[in-house]
């Protein structure tokens, strides 16, 4: 049960991060500051490293 909750939270965080990155990718200052790649990198790390938890939460 706890695993499932952790998975849901991690999935929510990753999706929120992806959404913010996608929305602000056309902002010059956001891009220049490197936040676009930071957003992609952090959400990739969350999804890849916690894939087991997310799988548990989704299934």
């Amino acid at each position: 049960m706890l695993d499932k909750s952790i998975g849901r939270v991690l999935l929510l965080v990753a999706v929120a991060l992806i959404a913010v990155t996608f929305v602000f990718v056309n902002s010059e200052s956001f891009r220049t500051a490197g936040f676009v790649y930071l957003g992609l990198a952090v959400s990739s790390v969350i999804i890849i490293l916690s894939f087991g938890y997310i799988k548990n939460a989704v299934s």
Binding site: N26, R31, S44, I48
Partner: protein, 156 residues
Amino acid sequence: MVELIGIDANWREDAIFGLVIGVLFIVANLLTPAISLGVPVVLEEQSKILIKVLDAPILEEIFFRVALLSLLWLILSRFVPSNLALLGAVLGQAVLFAVFHANAYGLSNEAALYGALLFGVVAGAVTFMRKSVISSIVAHMIFNGWIVSKGLVVLG
């Protein structure tokens, strides 16, 4: 599915495969200028050319072709059969890859949208078939390098 990152003993073969795909995209771009991911170079951004050619392909490919493809496949496979879920995941990540690029260049840039969509589908399929993201990273690097070398800057 996260094993799609696939850095194994076959990495040289994957890299050569990626090289071939990158060259094919360059040829396609020469024949059909609509398949383009670039916009005219801005002088102050030229200092970032190496970063665009090296870090963008690695980060984007790991994000779209490993993390997002796996996540979409996982979610879709709850609702549809496995093969259909895989097809949906490949198409879904390609659409998001296109939206990401079109948004970066301005949504009116249709060339970026179509080029990124086509590349996304090919790279997604190749990553799944070879169980490795190395081919698509190399193809992305080759294509971005070519775009930059012909006087365009690649924003992502």
